[in-house]
Amino acid sequence: MQFFPVAQSREPQKNEADFPRKLKDRLVIVLFLLPALVLFITFVIYPIFRSIYFSTFNWKGFGPAVDYVGLDNYRKILTDTVFLKAIKNVLIIITLSLGLQLPLALILAVMVGRDLPGRSVFRTIFFLPYVLSEVNTAIMWMLLYNADPERGFLNAIMTLLGLQPVAWLADMNIVIYAIFFTLTWKYFGFHMLLYLTGLQNIPKEIEEAARIDGANAVQNFFRITLPLLSSTLKTSVYMSILGSIQQFIIVWVMTRGGPVNASETMATYMYRYGFVRFQLGYGSAVAIIMFLFCMIFSLLYQALTRKPDYLTGL
């Protein structure tokens, strides 16, 4: 009686079948990768190189690009005070995000992560803004920020409190902070959710062990929770910075980068030149600069934070 007929019949063929089988395995891998590779090359790699090509031309987008200008577009962009202002604005958004938005998200995550009654309700409420579309968010906040106290909710409250109404989106000194507030409202729920997932991965006993070892709530948070949350924090910071560099829709809908470029970001600058003024060569150069910023940041960030996760060792 044969208990393992399959194993026995395979045994003699093993050596002969070895080489073709490896080849077959490779072929299968290639076949499976092919569709994704074709799409990736067509819609990601090719446009990047095409943009690099166009960025060296003074080109309006109509007809063939013939007016070759070399690196002239790049020189102009990097010396344009409006673009430098856009970089400054992006840096302001990044700084405020890391300094205010992420800590807020973390505090809320710690609060709703506990076994408190009604926490799932709060979790849902905090996450709702992230579900809302960016255009809706922008329009809603434009209404809230309306300078007329009769129409704008915030100014109505200011007037009720006996304060002067503020032109939130028209004041060059305030607009970028007003936009940052909207961005925070929109995105903190996403980061909170990331932190919640991270917190759930920390075994309860580790924090209990620290409590017995003598740690109070603050020591427990800074010495145990925060270090164990580090890989989640890394992801969250990474996404926040990349998101800030690429921020477009909310700014464009609310202010179009105005007034007088006061809320310009790199993305609105690119869009203005590429698709409003139809200087597609110049716009392409802006896009390439943004791409380089993102790539250099990504590579540096990955290199600097390449430490295995404490909990998983990965």
């Binding site: 075994p203 006993e205 580790i206 209990e208 062990a209 620290a210 409590r211 017995i212 070892d213 003598g214 740690a215 109070n216 020591q219 010495r223 145990i224 270090p227 164990l228 580090s230 404490y310 909990l311 060792g313």
Partner: protein, 370 residues
């Protein structure tokens, strides 16, 4: 060093009663084992003592101090968790030093204590490693080390051996017992493994459904279980139980089941006489059932007809699974015994070692009649 007192402690999770009116005292320097099946409330009781759970009512005292409202860090206890709960981002040294650093102990003293503990536990060469670089056994040692350096009044162990393989478990069991002997501190140890309980504890508290069943020395627990639960829980394989009746005829007392009738030795007539005609549970441990060819000296053998159902050879003994009428039972017999599956055999019950439990008064958990 301190004693620990549970005084009418109740712990509820919503409507679920996890610990039900627990009262007992653990003496200073004692090694007490809390044992019971999964979900019996033993770990909850330990966590209440640690301060990780608030008790619903009652009092817990460490020494003379009521600790109900004292946070874990101020109870002067140390705990070894089932999962070890080492801090994954710290080295072994930092893990052990963490509690001392929080207590602002001078660096030299920390170094001294960690070194001493590492030497005791033979983990000196691991001090710079992170927990994930350690094996299960090594992690377990670090967890014990983290508790030792604190020099607490009371050590708490929550099933610390359950993640180790069988061989390491036996070895670590011995080491923890030795540790208790050398530290001379109160140890409270939770386990579901009755072998651990029997081998380690100076006393054992058996808990079931949140209720304390019996607290006594291992030998007393084994020889004189207070009720059927304790009798069945302590000992492996478990005690055999039979529905029975006490009956008197010709001035002799008998225990009668539907498949056998055994005479109760005269000296026990006084104890069981009043139960004449009453339903009881008759219990006998597997090692008190003999192969008549190899009886121990001094036993009061009573023959019972059985059918051999299954044999488990253990090397130094044989577990014989038998049927007597419709009853299953198991006997631990001499390894020289020769049995054939399905054959009819006569076993010898040692009637000087049996137990009788009163099922009429407490049908849920019959109490031992003595």
């Amino acid at each position: 060093m301190a004693s620990v007192t549970f005084d009418h402690v109740v712990k509820k999770f919503g409507d679920v009663l996890a610990v039900n009116d627990l009262s007992f005292t653990i003496d200073d320097k004692e090694f007490l084992v809390l044992v019971g099946p999964s979900g019996c409330g033993k770990t909850t009781a330990l966590r209440c003592l640690a301060g990780l759970e608030e008790i619903t009512s009652g009092t817990i005292k460490i020494g003379d101090q009521v600790v109900n409202d004292i946070p874990p860090k101020d109870r002067d206890i140390a705990m070894v968790f089932q999962s070890y709960a080492l801090y994954p981002h710290m080295t072994v040294f930092e893990n052990m030093a963490f509690g001392l650093k929080l207590r602002k102990m001078p660096k030299e003293e920390i170094q001294k204590r960690v070194d001493a503990a590492a030497k005791t536990l033979e983990i000196q060469n691991l001090l710079n490693r992170k927990p994930r670089e350690l094996s299960g056994g090594q992690r377990q040692r670090v967890a014990v080390g983290r508790a030792i350096v604190r020099e607490p009044k009371v050590f708490l162990f929550d099933e610390p051996l359950s993640n180790l393989d069988a061989k390491l478990r036996v070895q670590t069991r011995k080491e923890i017992t030795k540790l208790h002997n050398s530290l001379k501190t109160t140890f409270i140890y939770v386990t579901h493994d009755q072998v651990e309980a029997m081998t380690m504890g100076t006393r054992i508290a058996v808990i079931n459904h949140g209720v304390l069943q019996q607290v006594d020395t291992p030998q007393t627990l084994y020889d004189s279980p207070a009720n059927q639960f304790v009798a069945g829980f302590i000992g492996s394989p478990s005690m055999n139980f039979f529905q029975a009746k006490i009956s008197k005829s010709d001035g002799k007392l008998f225990v009668v089941t539907d498949s056998f009738k055994l005479e109760i030795p005269k000296e026990k007539n006084k104890v069981y006489g009043p139960y004449d005609g009453k339903k009881v549970i008759f219990g006998i441990r597997p090692e008190d059932i003999y192969n008549p060819e190899f009886p121990s000296t001094g036993i009061k053998a009573a023959p019972v007809e059985c059918k051999v159902d299954l044999l488990e050879l253990m090397g130094d003994e044989i577990y014989v699974y038998l049927m007597s009428g419709s009853h299953d039972l198991v006997a631990r017999v001499d390894p020289r015994s020769k049995y054939t599956l399905g054959s009819k055999v006569q076993m010898a019950f040692d009637m000087s070692k049996f137990h009788i439990f009163d099922i009429e008064q407490n049908p849920e958990n019959p109490i031992a009649i003595r």
